[in-house]
Every structure is written in structure tokens, then in C-alpha cells.
């Protein structure tokens, strides 16, 4: 672990130096067969697998504004205090050195689907034959009155994209006097990482139980009940965090008052807390919204053909990960984005090679949640192409999938598997 950590630090430092040194000279290709927007679980995996599956014949440019990949899965442990951000940080250099992906540290400001080009922040444009858009989520601050200003001032955080804000939220909890209250407000589903808020609440409860035993955790959920692994979380809360953690469903946040640190709901009474963690409604990432790819669910999410992940709004543009309109039983998760990316990469390589596209792709999802520093519960599923409501989509394979057995509940064995899952998927995505 120590070795890995110092390795991460070293490589992070090297990549910082490297990028700093070549930032002015980095040549951005004028054209690539495949351009990928976003280096998260979806985009990075797609970039790597287009290279792998084409036996390195198809050139790939990946455009990502961050120096390093910081994993959302496991980031709740930074908030609980048992992990550091460096433990979940991986440089992008593996994609370039091991697979020849051209990684451009920049932001795409616009997409022109007719000219088949993307424009970067400094005005350069890159042409593509196929564009893969994997921008994650956009937090819709307009859905909660007062939240944008309270978030920008650093007072009411979200920390729903792992990074500096994850550490800032941890610092707020460390600074909170014992006897205070941490409250997390959850939007209506669908949102990124269904069990994420409940895992985070458990992490904070674990920290309070050990370090600030007079403090409380309050979950204010817009949904009527826990949206993922409900019985498993509730068993842990009743056994381990009784008197510390309280769950309240049907609490849809409509406004925050930063002056008094108060949350207001559509129906229920106001709640004031010491540390507020308010998650607004979510929608497809900015560039997907701006390019008109979000054509589903009141233009919040991007419709795709699930066999290829090609957008239903624009030809030769594929959309992956948290930005898409989900199929039945499909969560917005990092593992799912990695799985989708492989299906998409296979389709893109086939299309660019003039081959028939695989009509029967498969997806898996495995999602682990830590309820303290060691013990974990999971949900897993396997998905195949099928019919639902008269549409061709992904459906779960009958009889497959499930959650941690109620009889065992959260275990340390699953905690070991969860950390091993993390290291293997980080390597599968980035190395």
C-alpha cells in the first residue's frame, strides 16, 4: 500500500511536470478517426478498447481537462477518513504510453455534427470519423433555490465529482464540533450512483461513532425510500448506527438558506444542520446538453441505440455512461460506464472496419458500498439486448444478479473484494 501510494504520488508529480513542460508545444492532431470527450470510466475505457480491439490501427484522441483520473467509487472513504484522495488517483499516462492514445488536456467547447469536428477551449478544432461523448453528469443547481451561490462560496458542498471538493467536505466534518449534525439531501432518481448517498451517510456515521459520538447524521431523501440495497443499509444503520443516523424519505429539497444553513422542502418542515451536503437534480454533462444530444426525459438525458451507443440525435456520435437515458435496471455507475464503453468500442471498430455490428452485446454491473472502513455490501447484474415496452434495449438476464445475502449482511470479505475490484477496474480503464 505504501509502495503504491508513493508510486501514485511520484507518477502524479511526473505527469504534472510532463504536462506543464509540454503544454505549449503539445501538438493537437487536426483529425483522428476516433475522438473521445471525457476521461472518466466511460471515456477512458472506450479510448483504450478502441485501440485494443483495432489492434492499434485506429487512432484515438481523448480530450479531458483533468491531469489525473480521480475515482468516484471509493471516494466516500475519503469523506469517512479511512482513505486519502491519492489512493484513488491514477494518471492518464498509461493510456498514452501503453496504448498510444493521444491524451489532450483541454475542454471541448462545441461539437459540429455536420462538419464532424469538435472545438477546444483555445479555438483549435479536431475532426473525427466517430465521436464518443462521455462527459458524466451536470449538477442542475437551478433545481434548488440558493444552492448555486452557497456551493460557489464553499459553504454547502456536493462532492459528487471526486476531487478537491471531496477533501473540502472531509475538512468540514473534521472542523465540525462534536454534537453537530451532518445532513445529506438526495434528489429524485435517476442520479449518479444510486447507493452513493447511503454509503456516504454510513461513512460519516462511522466517523462520528468513533470520533464525535454526540453528533448525528440525517438523510433527507426526495425518494420515498432508499433507492438501492435498502434492506442491507437499513440493517447496518439499525445495528451499528442506532441513535446516530436517521433516515427521512419523501423530503424533496427545493431551497437552501446559506445564512442559517437550512434546507427547505416542498412539503416537510425545514431542517437546519451544521454541515450540509445538498445534491441537486442531475442531467447529462454540459457538452451533451449543449450539442443537443440530451433528447430524452425533458431533454435531461441522451437517447442512444443500445446495440452501438450511437446517439439517437446525431449520426456518428456515441454517448456513454452517466449521461445516457438508462435502460431498465441499468444504474448510473462507473462499472456500468466501463461495460458500456466496451460495447461501444466494439461497435465503433466494427463500423469503421466495414464489419457487421454485434447484435447481442452484454453488460455487467458490480457495485460495492462500504458501510464502515472495512465491511461492504454489493449489488450485481448482467444485461443482454432484449425487448421492453416494444423497444429494443438492454434488459437484465432473467435469474441473474442480486445483492449481498441478508443472512451475512455486510462483511469484511466483500470489503477485500471491493478494494480488489477497484484496483482491477482502474487498471482495466487506464493502464
Amino acid at each position: 500500500m505504501i509502495q503504491r501510494r508513493s508510486f501514485l504520488h511520484t507518477s502524479a508529480a511526473i505527469s504534472l511536470l510532463g504536462l506543464g513542460a509540454c503544454a505549449t508545444t503539445a501538438s493537437i492532431p487536426a483529425k483522428a478517426k476516433v475522438v473521445v470527450i471525457g476521461g472518466g470510466y466511460g471515456g477512458a475505457t472506450a479510448a483504450k478498447y478502441v485501440r485494443l480491439l483495432s489492434e492499434y490501427k485506429i487512432d484515438v484522441v481523448m480530450i479531458e481537462p483533468n491531469y489525473n483520473f480521480v475515482s468516484c467509487p471509493i471516494s466516500n472513504l475519503v469523506i469517512g477518513g479511512s482513505k486519502q484522495l491519492a489512493d484513488l488517483t491514477t494518471p492518464y499516462s498509461g493510456l498514452s504510453s501503453n496504448h498510444g492514445v493521444t491524451v489532450v488536456r483541454d475542454t471541448v467547447t462545441s461539437i459540429d455534427p455536420s462538419k464532424k469536428t469538435v472545438t477546444l477551449s483555445q479555438g483549435q478544432s479536431v475532426a473525427y470519423d466517430k465521436l464518443i461523448v462521455s462527459p458524466g453528469i451536470d449538477l442542475n443547481f437551478a433545481s434548488i433555490e440558493g444552492l448555486k451561490a452557497a456551493s460557489e462560496s464553499g459553504q454547502i458542498l456536493q462532492a459528487w465529482k471526486a476531487g478537491a471538493e471531496t477533501v473540502a467536505l472531509r475538512k468540514q466534518l473534521e472542523a465540525m464540533p462534536d454534537g453537530g449534525t451532518y445532513a445529506i439531501a438526495i434528489p429524485l432518481a435517476p442520479y449518479r450512483c444510486p447507493p452513493g448517498p447511503y454509503e456516504r451517510a454510513s461513512q460519516v456515521a462511522w466517523y462520528f461513532k468513533n470520533k464525535k459520538p454526540k453528533s448525528k447524521v440525517l438523510i433527507l431523501d426526495a425518494n420515498p425510500d432508499v433507492t438501492s440495497k435498502g434492506p442491507l443499509f437499513k440493517a447496518v444503520w439499525a445495528n451499528d448506527y442506532k441513535g446516530i443516523l436517521e433516515y427521512r424519505g419523501n423530503h424533496k429539497t427545493v431551497a437552501v438558506d446559506a445564512r442559517t444553513n437550512t434546507v427547505k422542502f416542498d412539503v416537510q418542515d425545514d431542517v437546519t444542520a451544521t454541515v450540509l451536503n445538498v445534491l441537486p437534480a442531475m442531467r447529462a454533462g454540459q457538452i451533451a446538453l449543449q450539442a443537443g444530444l440530451a433528447n430524452q426525459a425533458n431533454n435531461n438525458w441522451c437517447g442512444v441505440n443500445y446495440v452501438t451507443f450511437e446517439s439517437t440525435a446525431a449520426k456518428d456520435i456515441h454517448v456513454l455512461g452517466d449521461s445516457i437515458q438508462i435502460a431498465p435496471g441499468m444504474p448510473k455507475s462507473g462499472h456500468m460506464a466501463n461495460s458500456q464503453a466496451k460495447v461501444c468500442a466494439t461497435a465503433v471498430v466494427a463500423q469503421l472496419s466495414g464489419w457487421e455490428v454485434n447484435a447481442a452485446p452484454m453488460l455487467t454491473n458490480t457495485c460495492y458500498s462500504f458501510v464502515d472502513d472495512k465491511r461492504v455490501v454489493h449489488v450485481a447484474s448482467v444485461h443482454q439486448i432484449g425487448q421492453f415496452d416494444g423497444r429494443t434495449t438492454f434488459v437484465t438476464v432473467p435469474g441473474s444478479g442480486g445483492v449481498t445475502a441478508a443472512a451475512t449482511g455486510a462483511t469484511e470479505l466483500e470489503g477485500v473484494y471491493a478494494m480488489n475490484w477497484a484496483k482491477n477496474i482502474w487498471a482495466d480503464t487506464l493502464s
Binding site: E55, K342, V343, S353, V382, G401
Partner: protein
């Protein structure tokens, strides 16, 4: 009959992969790689997990061993935390294909 066709294609493509990789690339081989890649999230790219991983490396395991274990997971004969739920998501044909693929990978 159908199974046999798939088998023939599979045998040919797996052999081809390891003798003349450049020429072997076609829709069938990338679809096979893509199917096997559904295991890679947990077991590593091409079935190679990191050294010391508690999630096993599948690359280089004997084909029959992988098939037997997947069926034992699915039937409940081999107890598991999660693999019994995932194993039930794959058909017998898919399990055979995946097992052949990983058996042919270098450790």
C-alpha cells in the same frame, strides 16, 4: 447443429488469434474479445488481474476448469459472495466461448 457452427468458428478464430494475429482480426474475434471483456472490470484486461489480487487471474486457466467453476457457481454448488449471481447471466455457449478465450491467453 448451431452449436457446432459456433464451435468451428470459435476454434478457428482462437487458433488464428495465436498464429497470425494481424490477419485474424474480424467481427467474430472482436465480438469474442468484447464478450470476454465483460469479465475484465473485476478480473483485469484480458483476464490478467494485478499481482496478489484476491480476484483471480483468468488468463491461462484451463478451459474445462473455467467452465466447471462457472457452472458450479451458477448451480450454487460452489459458494460465492457475488459470482453465483453473475454466472447465471451467461448461457452455456457464452461460458464455453469465454473459457476458450481465457485459456488461450498468456498468464
Amino acid at each position: 447443429m448451431k452449436k457446432q457452427t459456433i464451435w468451428t468458428i470459435l476454434t478457428v478464430s482462437v487458433l488464428a488469434l495465436h498464429t497470425i494475429p494481424a490477419a485474424a482480426q474480424d467481427a467474430t474475434t472482436i465480438n469474442l474479445k468484447s464478450l470476454a471483456a465483460t469479465c475484465a472490470n473485476c478480473h483485469g484486461t484480458n483476464g490478467k488481474a494485478f499481482e496478489g489480487s484476491a480476484v483471480v487471474t483468468l488468463a491461462g486457466l484451463p478451459k474445462n476448469y473455467i467452465v466447471t467453476q462457472m457452472k458450479a457457481f451458477a448451480s450454487g454448488q460452489r459458494p460465492a459472495t457475488i459470482m453465483h449471481q453473475l454466472a447465471k447471466g451467461y448461457s452455456d455457449t457464452q461460458i464455453e466461448q469465454i473459457a476458450s478465450y481465457f485459456a488461450a491467453q498468456k498468464k
